[in-house]
Assembly symmetry: C2
Homo-oligomer: 382 residues x 2
């Protein structure tokens, strides 16, 4: 017998009350109770997105939302500036290319966050850039890009949109969609939203809707204008993923009970303790600046294969973490601490890492990293 | 948001596959599929009880099984010898008194296990003793009594039964019902059997059935002879707790997949690591001899209220452990590690204890106990 622990950066564990809600008998997506439900979750999504604008609910994973965030806001031949600092920056590149944009790339070394000045300079050099694509949290490297600063850079330009992949950011750390001028923000259900995969959420600013009115890219399922028309009537354009929306309502209840500030504080506490614990073991964080509070990418110590760490966590201890992607394969392993995560998930992650490293022949003092993490995890006060 | 952890000595957590099985639509207890199910679980119960005799399934908690283990095997006025070394030894006393037995008590200091020689001497002094009542694992103190040695003492006597409360023992550590001569063995669903409360299981030896044939105590619901007649036909005398029996079948599948030896080895590994971790924090075990592998009773350090440790584990860290009972209230807290328990439950228990003690002002080096526990928890080989 071995218990299983899901500490990967998505899908993340689903809370029991959400699983129970989703296990209820399904009802019809054109029934009045679904419209009532959709109205409620649409309101609550605005709250967590910190926007007064629309937040679309799509039956797709986050990548579907990203596709729509390209196809609805760029015409073929228009210029896009892509911040590419990892696997998901590359996904923006591929999507922009697929939909016929001219792409200018700001290549950011994996493990670094973009310097907002670089974006400002690129925009200044080329007034024809119609949209900037960036990750709020780059899941492949565990690095956050400074969306607040990027918002400052972009919002002064009436003809340029800022499009943010917040798939491992929204619900993890503060992201003020309206105040910071984030025109399009995309996230998915299976990260901080602690739902099964299958839903994407996309907020769209008025500025972005104005642009969408005139874009001509080929799209059908991810046609945001059509979807908006339906959702303003508390309907979905196509069949809604009913059970997931039922689960979403439960998740939003949990979020509201906790409150934004506590939610972000908890995620930060868990992230901070994970980073401190891993460093106390003698490991280096892969993020050289602005580590994301959603997940921690940890470098394998020299002489130890990162894939072995990832694999042994699973085989020996029932823990599903993540390995490195592409050229990071074998060099890093990644531990998530977003969504349905609490104090002892971090304790487990650090303890298991110590045990696996010891088994792999790395000199580690069992309990040392855990102790440092424990100290950071202890809630203040009372 | 706070995750909840159930580390109390019952009820214990129920594995997800068992919860799912029990969530299936209910079927009728007189339907053929229930008889088929009951036949299967009766066979598998014999395997885990290590007996060729009958194992009755009762819709009650363990105490109901204990009541039947008195009322079916003692006549009013007959003499019972009760080993009383804790709260559940006292329960044997109360039951024997309730059913009109003459009770001789071997009082064992709480925290100690009985010396089998004391039982042998008492039996030698008084040939009229018809049954010896004992706990295999005394849940209030975390102490195991040596049932193998007691079996040796009792089985030579044709007119004396050995009745064992194995509620926190069966499925935790080795208990050879037939080989050791344990005539009646009682357990419940909500401990090592990792089911919700509501079922008791009682094995009965041929020697005990012979005694039962002539006992005259008042009983109806817990009439084992009547129950046996039904269960030999794969029926229950009264309504069966259908969903719990469905869950039981899943649990027995898990037990069989793990195997008895591995099951006991895992429980021992978790118990050993808990004891070593708590001692490394500087705490003393309450069990002064033969600690039970089901749970660990830990003494609160001087100046710290044990009830505060128990309470703060829950309030601060979402962990339900147990406090001390009766005169141990405030003096000990108890952590279980039986049933659906694995490596990181122990890590969580020791880490949380460190953190709570530190918050309560006790000098503790965070991670020290955890490190010692980790070393004991690391599986050998491969």
């Amino acid at each position: 017998m071995q218990k299983r622990y899901l500490l990967a950066p998505g899908p993340t564990p689903v809370p029991p009350e959400v699983l129970l809600a989703m296990a209820q008998p399904i009802f019809h997506h054109r029934a009045p109770e679904f419209a009532e439900l959709l109205g409620r979750v649409r309101d609550d999504l605005k709250w967590i997105f910190q926007t007064r604008g629309d937040v679309l609910i799509l039956a797709s994973t986050g990548t579907g939302g990203m596709e729509g965030a390209v196809s609805n806001f760029l015409n073929p031949g228009e210029k896009a500036l892509v911040v590419n600092g990892g696997k998901f920056g590359e996904r923006w590149m591929k999507l922009c290319n697929t939909f016929g944009a001219k792409v200018e790339e700001i290549k950011v070394e994996w493990g670094q966050s973009v310097d907002p000045q670089q974006v400002a300079d690129a925009l200044k050099r080329d007034p024809s850039i119609k949209a900037v694509y960036v990750q709020a949290s780059e899941t492949s490297t565990g690095v956050a890009h400074d969306c607040r600063a990027l918002g400052e850079v972009v919002k002064a330009r009436p003809d340029t949109l800022l499009v943010v992949d917040a798939i491992t950011a929204l619900g993890v750390f503060d992201l003020k969609t309206d105040d910071w001028g984030l025109d399009v923000v995309v996230t998915g259900s299976q990260k901080a939203f602690m739902l099964p995969p299958g839903l994407a959420f996309v907020s769209v600013s008025e500025k972005a809707w104005q642009k969408a009115a005139s874009t001509k890219n080929t799209k059908f399922y991810f046609d945001f204008k059509k979807e908006r028309e339906s959702q303003l009537k508390n309907q979905t354009a196509y069949t809604a993923a009913v059970s997931l929306v039922v689960g979403l309502a439960e998740v939003l209840k949990i979020f509201k009970a906790e409150g934004l500030e506590s939610l972000f504080a908890r995620n930060h506490r868990l992230a901070d303790a994970t980073r401190a614990g891993m460093q106390a073991i003698g490991l280096s964080l892969f993020a050289k600046s602005s580590p994301s509070d959603a997940l921690t990418a940890v470098e394998a110590p020299s002489g130890v294969d990162g894939q072995q760490i990832y694999k042994q966590l699973r085989v020996r201890y029932g823990i599903t973490a993540a390995g490195g992607q592409d050229h990071l394969k074998g060099k890093v392993f990644r531990i998530a601490h977003m969504g349905y995560a609490d104090t002892f998930d971090v304790v487990i992650a650090v303890a298991a890492t110590e045990m696996v490293l010891k088994e792999l022949g790395y000199a580690v003092q069992l309990g040392k990293g855990v102790g440092v993490a424990q100290a950071r995890l202890m809630p203040a006060g009372k």
